[in-house]
Amino acid sequence: MIAEIGLAALWLAAALAALQLFAGVLALRQNQDEDGELARLVRPAAMVQALLASLAFLMLMWCFAITDLSVKLVAANSHSLKPILYKVTGTWGNHEGSMLLWVAVMAMSGGLIGWLEKRLPVRTMQATLATQGFVALGFYAFLLLSSNPFERLPIPAPEGQGLNPLLQDIGLALHPPTLYIGYVGLSVAFSFAIGALLTRNVTPEFARVMRPWVLGAWVFLTLGITAGSYWAYYELGWGGWWFWDPVENASLMPWLAATALLHSTSVLAARDALRTWTIMLGVVAFSMSMLGTFLVRSGVLTSVHAFAVDPERGSFILALLAIYIGGSLAIFALRAGTVAEGKRFAMTSREGALVFNNVMLSAILGIVLLGTLYPLLTEAFDIRVSVGPPYFNPVSAIFAVPMFLVMAAGPLMRWREDKPARIQLELAIVGAIILGVLAVVAVLGDYSILAILGLALSAGLAIASFMPLRGRKLARVPLATWGMVLAHFGVAVSLFGMASESAFTTERLSAVTAGESQQVAGWNITLESVDPIAGPNWTAMEARVIAQRGKGEASVMVPQARNFWAPAQATSESALLTRWDGQLYAVIGDSAGVDANGNQRWQLRVWWKPFVTFIWYGGLLIALGGALAIIGRVSTDLKRRRAVLRGTEKRAEAEQLKMEKIDGYGTF
């Protein structure tokens, strides 16, 4: 019954999405206002749809929680012996469930907008909700027609097939939904952008309404990428944290677009400039999240990954992609010319810096997109090429280096027009720091140019990110400004971690017997013992490694080399030792034969990675900055709204009393 309730709720939600779309479109066509018969349906449709989609998702979660093995999805992906936590998180640990989570979150956002958002003109809201309904309808169709999560088995399975302890990892359970929420946030921003474009209402007010969604999406994407990178770092056993792998790029591209969108939205909200550009980025950001989904799930690019390749699924997502992205790009091309570009500004102004960095971010996005898709293109001609870090790193740096420089200076500048002379002291300080670090690092050692540049820029940027606070009363600095400062500082921290890791990492590969010691970067590493241990469905060789830094206290690390038998697979469980200035990373490998005395020798890999943790601390700081900005922006907007409301009320009273015109209120 549970599965059937879920399926029914899903169908009803789809019907409501269709209603939301058609009522919205007809209302727009007939030029109805909020009280029109059809127009009145749009908001309730969005709200009820949210309830139904959430209900469908909860029903699926229930099926997983009680391990209902007559449901095909549960039988394929769960197991009655799994801990309850992983039974529940298993709901979205598969294609169908994750798509259902996606539409549920999307419907909830739509419901939230329909319920609360009253700032925009009626027509724009109708168009936005209609777009939202249109996007949702495609995903419902995808779920119901090609990936039904509630499908029953003719005969219930005796036991599920999903007892894979590899997947029972809390990071892995929480990381995908984080990214989905980010993607959904971008789809909301997309709906707003299309709504505003269709009704020719690209205004600062529109930007303010859209901004929390963009910020929210951006925060979640940042968290998702940060977590995913750390997961790859500790799980893969070689200490790499970013591989420019297609699947990683698929999550980076929406983030780059969202970062650009976020900043151009700020310009639009504050200065009523960059209207077309903001709309374009809104479309691009959502396109990138759809494209990423397509690349990951269709298998066109990931022949190298063993993802579930399903041509039907791929075709469906590609069709959705064609409709939404193709449609919105066509609307953009037709309508963008009619949207006034907005206010002008000088090159040396806050807007100028933001525009510059927007162009740089878009260029980096273009490079990543090109490098990711290029192998797909050549494969059509039966030529196979590889595009990896040696391409992505330098080519994106061409745009990233100027971007970081402008990022240091931009927040110090005034809106509209500024004279560089006004902030020359600040610029001189930052410039001196960058050049100083550059010189020192270049003299000290033989490091790659990119690492040296990264170190220098991160130092300059770290100082510069706090300069906007100079001369201000800290208690009175708006929360959104704190958010910006923290996020920019986070970028500097992360950049420092990346550069430091790539410049200063020391690697020690060795074959050692128990009791033998190795030196790596001031650490004394002793392999104490290697013993077999057994887990639920694996056996492992577990090493006890004693790590001692100089004369400091000794710590024990226990890396494992695990062999799973279902599915048969070998993994390395790395052991990490975190210090404030870096991480020691140890992996035990295979047996390496015996030494001259007949003692067993083991492959031991140890890395000392100075400040590598800063990469992820930086990511967290960026996300925190984004969260602060949301709180700041939303509360300011609410205050403003109350003030306007009070203004209107007063005006109404005054009109009633004196029947005379009062001006000055509500015209911010």
Binding site: A232, V247, G352, Y374, A511
Partner: protein, 157 residues
Amino acid sequence: MRALSIALLAAVLAPLAMLGVPLTAQDSLPPAPYAYTQLEDPALEAQAVELMATLRCLTCQSQNIHDSDAPMAGDMRHQVRSRLAAGEEPEAIRQWLIVRYGDYVSYQPEVSSTTWPLFLVPAIIFGFGLLLLFRRLGRKRSDGEGTDRAPTSEESA
């Protein structure tokens, strides 16, 4: 691998195929001498690491040979290290592999008849970006893009 991957496909970021090495086709011989042993000379070893990080493991495919436990990757590391130790230049070793496996084996695309767009397009993006910036940020503030301008009071005071 398949079951794992289906269940994991939701993990958009995770480079899954790298997660582990399937055991179905494993041999029992110890790895090649230089597969897990560094070169004595730190400068040569640094060159080796730099090169290995840009060569593609052919059996695991989505990993470079420096970061892989696959036996074939170990044998490729052995080739790289022993050739470097014998005095070959890193780029010569890369070329040696490209002659045998085509561009696929190297993560570092070189300008050739099949890869020129990878270098032309960034140049175009660069030019386009400059053009865009000049048009938007041109010194004459009132020099707008005709059709883009609102007819009424858009000009900032």
